[in-house]
Amino acid sequence: MVTIETPRSPRNRKSANREKWAWLFMRASGVVLIVLIFGHLFINLFTGDGIKAIDFAFVAGKWANPFWQVWDTLMLWLALIHGTNGMRTLVNDYAEREGWRKSLNFSLWTICILLIVLGTLVTTTFDPCPDTSVVSALPQFCSK
């Protein structure tokens, strides 16, 4: 459990600072995420044919422009860190057994890092015209 120190206990400067920066990050990233996610929803779900138009070509068209590559990569990083830190708050509040709390938080940050690495590789090494030999090399039942 997260212990709440008594008012007279000496201040643990290191962990207090970490919590302060986490608190500040939630607010700063939150403001940026409002712009990024509202823009994302407006372009992808509202303009044009909305969800109906989304396919590989749509994504390729967007990422042909470095502007959207940067937009989506920044959104990925901020959303995952903001979300994972929010989950950490929930875990710290509701996971009562210390071991359970620690392993949940460890899993959360592991998933966060893995998805950031995966997502960043996708947005930065994206190829709009992938090698068709790879696709045709698939077994016949895949191509229907």
């Binding site: 607010r27 939150g30 403001v31 995420l33 409002i34 996610i37 509202f38 929803l41 779900l45 509202f46 044919d49 909305g50 969800i51 109906k52 989304i54 396919d55 590989f56 994504v59 390729a60 990925l76 959303a79 995952l80 979300g83 994972t84 929010g86 989950m87 929930l90 998933i111 998805l115 995966l118 997502g119 590789l121 996708v122 090494t125 994206f126 190829d127 992938p130 790879v134 696709v135 895949c142």
Partner: protein, 130 residues
């Protein structure tokens, strides 16, 4: 000792329920984010696989779920602004209740602007016979 909750934002009424809603919407958005990062990663593996997976986003059931997702995002985003104002604006705590209803109203208006268009796209997709 005060007999009823006073001087606290997070006990009872809108102060508490906005806190509960902020947690529930945040949790929901987080799990969607995990799925959405993974499904988008498919664009790097195989265009056909990506198209197949993203097609499920256009079905009626998931289409309605997306409306729910947008509601969650709208509330979480606007209530986040309310939280920032409570923390940094001198009169934030005083007006937290009014700000909660402004959050609900603005979210509702934005949702009304979005929902008909999204429902139309889903209906068109069904009519086109997939």
């Amino acid at each position: 000792m005060p007999t009823k909750p006073t001087g606290t934002l997070y006990r009872g009424k809108t102060g508490m329920w906005s806190w509960v809603l902020h947690r529930i919407t945040g949790l929901s958005i987080f799990f969607f984010l995990l799925v959405h990062t993974l499904d988008t990663a498919l664009v790097r593996l195989d265009p056909a696989a990506y198209n197949e997976v993203i097609a499920t986003y256009k079905t009626p059931i998931i289409g309605v779920a997306e409306l729910g997702l947008v509601v969650a995002i709208l509330f979480h985003a606007l209530n986040g602004v309310r939280i920032i104002l409570i923390d940094f604006w001198r009169k934030g705590a005083k007006y937290q209740n009014v700000m909660f209803w402004i959050v609900v109203a603005v979210a509702f208006v934005l949702f009304l602007g979005f929902a008909p268009r999204h429902i139309m796209h889903i209906l068109e997709y069904i009519q086109a016979g997939k």
